[in-house]
Symmetry: C2
Subunit: 220 residues, 2 copies
């Protein structure tokens, strides 16, 4: 049974300060926090499963699954043997730094090198709130179309890396990989781009190598 935490919306106005404070605490406890954002259905949970498979012998991983009120994904991760807690946002469309801190407190940091927050499936609001994460990553699936960096600028501006998922079904969609790279880099010239298929495993190595290097650089 996955532990379910009802996280409360912050009453504090100073989210940025609280996010910085959480980052300082994570630095002290040597826990790297990754904030994973995307639209509903882009494959966050399957990507997390593949990532945990690849990194579980190299890093101690803990997962926080944020959902409005279901526990579907947390159960999936927990069934796969990954330390997982469920955060229920009670209708809220995003997590802020205080909600994330409540999650981290429940997850614990003593035996966690890499804490991953699977944010609420939403390409708009989560990008507006600094959660205190060390790195922010967005998943865009082939099915969503290559024009998304034009239409949802902020999330591409705030993310350190962009995973382009479901490349196994690329032949059935009119998706232009060169265009999505151009548009994403236009929003953020420093963004790292990782085309993957979480289903077949293609490209997952390259993504995991980047993440492992980032985590080890932070915790060592």
């Amino acid at each position: 049974m996955v532990k379910i935490i009802e996280v409360k919306e912050s009453v504090f106005k100073n989210n940025d300060e609280r996010a910085d404070k959480l980052r300082d605490e994570l630095k002290q406890s040597k826990t790297f926090l990754l904030n994973l954002m995307s639209s509903p259905g882009s494959g966050k949970t399957t990507t997390l499963l593949r990532t945990c498979e690849q990194l579980k012998d190299k890093l101690k991983i803990g997962i926080m699954e944020a959902d409005i009120d279901s526990s579907v994904d947390a159960q999936t991760m927990s069934d796969a043997g990954v330390k997982t807690i469920q955060l229920h946002t009670g209708g809220m469309c995003h997590l802020d730094a205080e909600m994330t801190r409540q999650g981290i407190e429940e997850l614990g940091t003593d035996d966690v090198d890499l804490a991953i927050l699977e944010n609420v499936g939403n390409l708009v609001c989560p990008a507006e709130f600094d959660t205190g994460a060390i790195k922010n990553v967005c998943i865009l699936s082939i099915c969503e179309g290559h024009d998304k960096p034009l239409k949802y600028p902020l999330i591409f501006e705030t993310c350190d890396a962009l995973i382009i998922n479901k490349i196994d079904v690329a032949p059935y969609f009119n998706f232009d990989m060169d265009k999505v790279r151009e548009y994403a880099l236009m929003r953020n010239p420093d963004i790292k781009i990782f085309p993957i298929s979480a289903i077949t495993g293609e490209g997952v190595d390259t993504w995991c190598n980047w993440l492992e290097k980032e985590v080890k650089g932070f915790i060592c």
Copy 2:
């Protein structure tokens, strides 16, 4: 060139009253307002193009494309010869009744039987705000997975109809049509469900027949 309207977030707290007022005005002017909601990339614009092709000789149609700050979709609709205006929400993740009223005012109602609002791509926040629409419709694409009514309850509770798009690529995804029906009907026993492919046109007739009947019932 598509006309671009910068809609302002409402300062009014009484959104529900304003939505009811807009509905009364639409009844007076015999204009049916459809609020179309979905995740980014589920195929709202392509579905609208097919819908307009089927209904353009039967109804006078006007489109309001709401986007955070791009005009990609409005240009696509306008290029197809459909009366279209662009609403820019200036970062806002949804439209409320006052923002919708500003759009309707610009679109005009004299020669519009069916006004369609393509809401911001977001499965969470738009469902929380009554826009004043006569009917609310959600598009879910095959690629997003059949578990979405479990994870994003409110949008399925508030919608009158659910379009399940991209059925042409169903063979490449692990999507269970029976399960999505079961979950959607669990959220809303009255929801009408229309499986379609906006690309191949399959199922679009049935959806358009329902919509035409609803519009004619309202304006006659």
